[in-house]
Symmetry: C2
Subunit: 459 residues, 2 copies
């Protein structure tokens, strides 16, 4: 029955839509090919990483990033360029160090986790207890870790679809709270990293935890080997940090106004803030650059019918952008045609998922045909995750797309000092721009209504 219903819906759409996929394809292909040759995205990534670099929320660099965003959008000819201010909680790193005190003294490479408590002044020194899996630590009863530094060394598997970040990431996000519940005084966790470079990878953890830091992978393995020798191993941990309860932050916005239906808005972007150890190249100068360049290219053959809005979200890493944006735009949600975020580096897009029923529409069929030569799959399963910064819009009902990028190398670099420009492949970056630009061009010049398509598909 469901199958028959789908066929009927498709027939109805075909009857209602005089535009055919093949009529739209040449213009979309022209946008795609222009994008593949366009250097705008690369220049933006180069500029943001060179002239601003690391830009954690609550830092002076974030103010420079805001100014960079405003200047960049203005220089590229966007309209209605402005910053939407909000406040959010910001954790700022201070002095940090860790070392094995005995029996085999060695320095350890660490980075404190966002929201980590500071150590007592002068640091803390305690025996470690090493768990090869996060579950093994969770299996400990309350009090079992009393006075110890808990160490979890479970490695993160490499995946194309970033699917290991959620399940393994819990050891970073919840570990400091869970270790504390069991009596630990400190928590060290193997970085959520897919390579073995001696650089720790930071990231947020849940509030309310004990002093907690990420270990570089070789240092996690060193502690495993020391623990395996059967003697008590003592570690000294020094961590300072500052917690700003209401730091200033900004979502920076620019638009290409729609010529026919300016109130119908397509919202895309990346996040402007970054973690502090690197320069925020793949996380997320690339997302900013891809969506900004794509919006401009989508309008390169003339003003679109609908409004294209680029948002450079101001606090993704520690959260806040999404809630702030929804609060400021809740009356507008019903007019958001579709929302999308680019926040997985510059790995090539290998799959695009649109709202349920979307592929039945001629514009979306034209889009699938336009990006297939770029190596993009367009499965019928609807988009599941849109991105942290548009979660608020999604929960409020905005349709969203998911452009899956190849994450194979992403977690080699993510949240580490190695997040730098040289890791970005300009060809892969351009492929991303081409996919986004083709999509934005087709949607902005169409009457496609993802809400109605979804309703029809679910009927």
């Amino acid at each position: 029955m469901r199958h028959l219903a789908c066929l009927l819906v498709a027939a109805a759409i075909a009857a209602a839509a005089p535009v055919q996929a093949q009529d739209l394809a040449p213009a979309a292909a022209a946008v795609r090919d222009r994008a593949l040759d366009d250097a705008t995205a690369w220049k933006l990534v180069e500029s943001l990483t060179t002239e601003v670099g690391a830009r954690p929320v609550g830092s002076p660099a974030m103010m420079r990033a805001r100014d960079w965003g405003l200047a960049t959008l203005t220089a590229l000819g966007f309209a209605n360029v402005h910053a939407e201010a909000f406040t959010t909680r910001a954790w700022l790193r201070g002095e940090e160090s860790a070392e094995v005190v005995g029996p085999w003294p060695q320095k350890l490479q660490i980075l404190g986790l966002g929201n980590s408590a500071p150590t007592p002044k002068g640091g803390l020194t305690a025996e470690i207890i090493v768990f090869r899996t996060y579950q093994a630590m969770l299996d400990q009863p309350p009090g079992a870790l009393k006075g110890k530094i808990a160490v979890v060394t479970q490695p993160m598997p490499r995946t194309q679809d970033a699917s290991s970040y959620g399940p393994i990431g819990v050891q970073r996000r919840q570990g400091p709270v869970e270790a504390g519940k069991r009596g630990a005084v400190g928590y060290l966790v193997r970085s959520l990293a897919t390579d073995g470079t001696r650089l720790p990878h930071t990231g947020t953890s849940a509030a309310g935890g004990i002093p907690a830091a990420a270990l570089a992978p070789p240092d996690a393995e060193l502690l495993e080997r020391m623990a395996a020798r059967g003697k008590p191993v003592t570690v000294r941990l020094v961590m300072n940090s500052t917690l700003v309860p209401a730091a200033q932050a900004w979502n920076v916005v620019g638009e290409i106004r729609g010529a026919e239906k300016p109130d119908e808005v397509i919202v895309v972007g990346g996040h402007l803030d970054s973690w502090d150890p690197g320069t925020g190249a793949i996380d997320d100068a690339t997302g900013i650059a891809i969506t900004t360049a794509a919006a401009r290219l989508a309008a390169s053959a003339g003003p679109p019918k609908r409004t294209l809005r680029v948002v450079m979200w101001g606090s993704e890493e520690q959260g806040g952008s999404s809630e702030a944006y929804l609060a400021a735009h809740k009356d507008e949600v019903s007019r958001i045609v579709v929302a999308g975020e680019s926040d997985l580096g510059a790995g090539r897009i290998w799959r695009v998922s649109v709202p349920a029923g979307g592929w039945a529409h001629p514009e979306m069929r034209a889009f699938a045909a336009t990006v297939a030569p770029l190596g993009v799959l367009t499965p019928t399963a609807p988009a599941l995750q849109g991105g942290s910064d548009i979660e608020g819009l999604i929960e409020a009902g905005a349709p969203f797309v998911e452009f899956s990028q190849d994450a194979d190398r992403y977690f080699d670099l993510h949240h580490s000092a190695d997040d730098t420009l040289d890791k970005v492949d300009p060809r892969d970056l351009a492929q991303n721009v081409a996919v986004w630009a083709s999509f934005l061009h087709l949607v902005a010049n169409s009457d496609i209504d993802f809400r109605a398509l979804k309703t029809a598909a679910n009927r």
Copy 2:
């Protein structure tokens, strides 16, 4: 004429030596195959990197390394285990930091170079001047860099035979003196690294230079991009260090005494000291492990005729071992059959060079046949470089061998925090042990006289 002479020499050797290559090959092959299955070398690398870690000369860790060496050789059954003390100059790192102050503030990842002068207390702040090649800096007249921080960003090419380290290395070794001559107050040099990881690579520089540090490759490229923007770029550099003019150091020695000719000595080893940022895994726990394990395996079928001596040299990185060893053993040089050092990580041996004329001898022909299945070339060109720690012996006339390892990945890791156990491939390590063990077995049980062969070959 030379060709005819060679043939005559070969005929004379064949007549004088009743032993044929094919008679020796089975025993050598047995040693080789035992080595491929032997875990001793891996265990030694694991132990030294876990229980000692970084061990710069002049540090407390170096004393622990000495004790580790003595205990290890004793436990493995070596005879005459002892430490030969000497003093040498030692440069010890202190606090270090660098940052772009303006116009685009960013932190830089640096490591001070050995022998670097400290900055004035509180650091120095100066405008940078960037040179894309070392020669471009040398081309500057005296005074041209007055008051500036000179920055050289020439990258190091990846090579299999490590041949880029000499010519590109001059920018690290001589750069601080040459920049100073031209008036610079500080010197930053792109790390001698073949990858783009955001870790600087340290190493020595000539004494008498200005404050000098290595930049992580992405940071060298960042300064290039900033300089290309045409505005003055200012960097703040803070470096402390301590220079110990006569630090205690030790060459740690163990022997497998020859049963027939104990005074004929084969000297092999690696160096026990390391640079400080990593754990000295590939530089040079592997060399220590390869030669120690190989000597033991060479004697595994029974005591050798000649003495096998393993020396764990105590100050390679900052120099001193070679001179100290020669001074203590100058009367013994004429009885050294051959010397060799393993100091290029655990990359597979792809070529073995012996003293001129060596391949004419049946033992060496058997050796060539034994290691050919391991992918080893045995060209007739004689060995050219034996290793830093045996330079003194070589200059005093000791024959030496050169076991060329694949250096393709070596300079990704060398002298950086990334020099850790996880970067060692156990199979490649075992291949090294097999080649060394085969060689030591054959030479220690032979009457081969490389000096006489060389003389004959040159006749």
